[in-house]
């Protein structure tokens, strides 16, 4: 089962603005790009054409791993606004 099928089981209330942000200039020079594989919700993807980090913040499970994993400490991580983000029915 791929990650999109897994994420499709979840209930989200998408916020208008992203609660995750980066300075893309720093990402351009980042060799490791750990965020693109350690994230349990596959939120981060490197767009080679645009030379830009795509952040699908609406899929975020709010675990906080990316903030720690980023070798450049470049992820500005906060909780989504109240009543937004993921909701676990079971958990």
């Amino acid at each position: 089962m791929n990650i999109n099928d897994k994420l499709a089981t979840l209930k989200y209330n998408k916020d208008k603005e992203s609660h995750l942000s980066v300075n893309n200039d720093i990402c351009i020079n980042c060799k490791e790009k750990y965020c693109t594989f350690i994230c349990p919700a596959n939120v981060y993807e490197w767009n080679t054409n645009k030379c830009e980090l795509t952040i699908r913040y609406e899929n975020c499970l709010e675990c906080g791993a990316c903030k720690i994993a980023c070798s450049k400490k470049n992820i500005n991580w906060k909780y989504p606004n109240a009543e937004h983000g993921v909701k676990f029915k079971n958990g």
């Binding site: 750990y34 906080g64 720690i68 906060k78 676990f88």
Partner: protein, 431 residues
């Protein structure tokens, strides 16, 4: 007089926060517990099971009314090789003396906060604390998106990331090696089929740890819990291992689910939820500074997790209770200084929390250093032993056992195990 003033504010309605709030409310003090989710538990996830004895200290005989799934009556350890496995199982009668219960956090946490409210706590859901209010360098309140609240004491029970404890310098920034990333799926299966498959009765349940196989040679552990008509299955893996091995956590879980010894357990079960959560890798050196003037830190926020023994919610509840008791003492005394609140740390030291964290201080480092022995060699030898014992063929038994023993010796198993044994003995015997 500030109308938004209470005796104590607790940030976070997880196990530690709720325990603190209940303890304080029961003593008649005014306590406000704020939580960022719409309903407590909706942002939380764990394996998982709660431990009966310590939970009952906060919620006596909770099993009569709380939303529990199953009483855990069997603990399994699956030792996997690439294709085979050796299963260890400990089964016990639970009637009258429960050890643990599988629960879902969104249901369990909701029930717990209801008990806190019944005890007299004020509960503010949908409330995110973006920052703490400081006066003369001391925490005196919280800033939320809507309004400010003030209190004599603030208890930070805001989970593993605890941005608030970090913001006032009580918590060091977490490193890759300090945390595990946990991913889990809840898989649905008709109750009868589930019970037949796991060989359990109506109310009984299985908890399993899974090591080796797809998880070999890395600090990663699989887990499985049976619920009423669902199975919770997941993997916890150290963040530094994910980075080192370029692994996606959900792909690791998929590999584990496909192992020939695991796949039949979850066959035909339909996924109803995927989730993830980060856990601190409990060690004494990594715990936060847990008190200062007018503030205390409890639960995951403080780093109170015993990964070795899958303990976390119990330590969270206990630390919340101890922080709550300290807050009540300080309010009665009218003194909220760090020196009064140091009582919290003294209580922690007397409890299993600090004792166990000290015992495990460098355990994880030692496990990581010996990870191939533990997750690869031991499962292989265990399977090889059973293979030797059970294979009926033309080879004389003496030759078979000789071959097995030579393999054990050549594998370096004994040489590799002695330091682990000595390490464990030193931990237990040292005073």
């Amino acid at each position: 007089m500030n109308t938004n003033k209470v005796d104590v504010i607790v940030v976070g309605a997880g196990p530690s926060g709720v325990s603190a709030a209940i303890t304080i409310a029961k003593s008649g003090k005014k306590v406000l517990i704020v939580d960022r989710s719409d309903a407590a538990g909706e942002k939380n996830m764990f394996g998982g099971a709660i431990y009966a004895k310590q939970t009952a200290e906060i919620f006596p005989e909770f099993w009569n009314s709380a939303p529990i799934e199953r009483a855990i009556t069997e603990q399994r350890i699956y030792m996997l090789t690439d294709a085979d496995s050796t299963l260890l199982s400990y089964r016990y009668a639970s009637k009258g003396s429960y050890k643990a219960f599988s629960v879902f956090r969104s249901k369990w946490d909701k029930w717990c906060i209801e008990q806190a409210v019944k005890a007299g706590a004020y509960y503010a859901p949908k409330t995110i604390v973006r920052e703490l209010i400081l006066e003369n360098g001391h925490v005196t309140g919280i800033k939320t998106d809507l309004e400010d609240f003030h209190a004599d004491i603030i208890i930070l029970a805001d989970g593993v990331n605890s941005l608030l404890a970090s913001s006032i310098g009580l918590k060091k920034e977490l490193k890759d090696s300090d945390v595990t990333v946990n991913v889990k799926e809840v898989l649905q299966l008709p109750k009868e089929r589930l019970q037949d498959r796991f060989n359990i009765d109506d109310e009984d349940g299985v908890a399993a740890k899974i090591m080796g196989g797809p998880l070999k040679n890395m600090f990663a552990m699989g887990f499985l819990y049976t619920n009423k008509d669902t199975i919770s299955i997941g993997v916890g893996v150290s963040l530094d291992e994910l980075k080192k091995n370029c692994i996606k956590p959900y792909e690791l879980l998929e590999e584990m689910k496909e192992h020939p010894s695991i796949a039949p357990l979850i066959k035909d079960a339909k996924i109803i939820e995927y989730s993830s959560h980060m856990l601190p890798e409990g060690s004494f050196d990594n715990i936060a500074k847990v008190y200062d003037n007018r503030v205390m830190v409890a639960g995951d926020a403080a780093g109170f997790v015993d990964n070795m023994h899958f303990e976390g919610t119990n330590l969270a509840m206990l630390s919340g209770k101890l922080a709550g008791e300290t807050a009540v003492f300080a309010i009665d005394r009218g003194d909220f200084s760090a020196s009064t609140l140091s009582m919290y740390y003294k209580k922690l030291e007397k409890s299993i929390i600090i004792k166990d964290l000290k015992t495990h201080n460098n355990t994880i480092a030692t496990l990581k250093n010996n990870i191939e022995t533990i997750t690869s060699l031991y499962p292989e030898l265990a399977c090889e032993f059973f293979e030797t014992l059970t294979a009926a063929d033309e080879i004389p038994k003496k030759d078979k056992y000789k071959k097995f023993l030579l393999k054990v010796i050549k594998s370096g198993c004994i040489r590799k195990t002695i330091p682990l044994g000595v390490f464990a003995m030193e931990k237990c015997l040292k005073r």
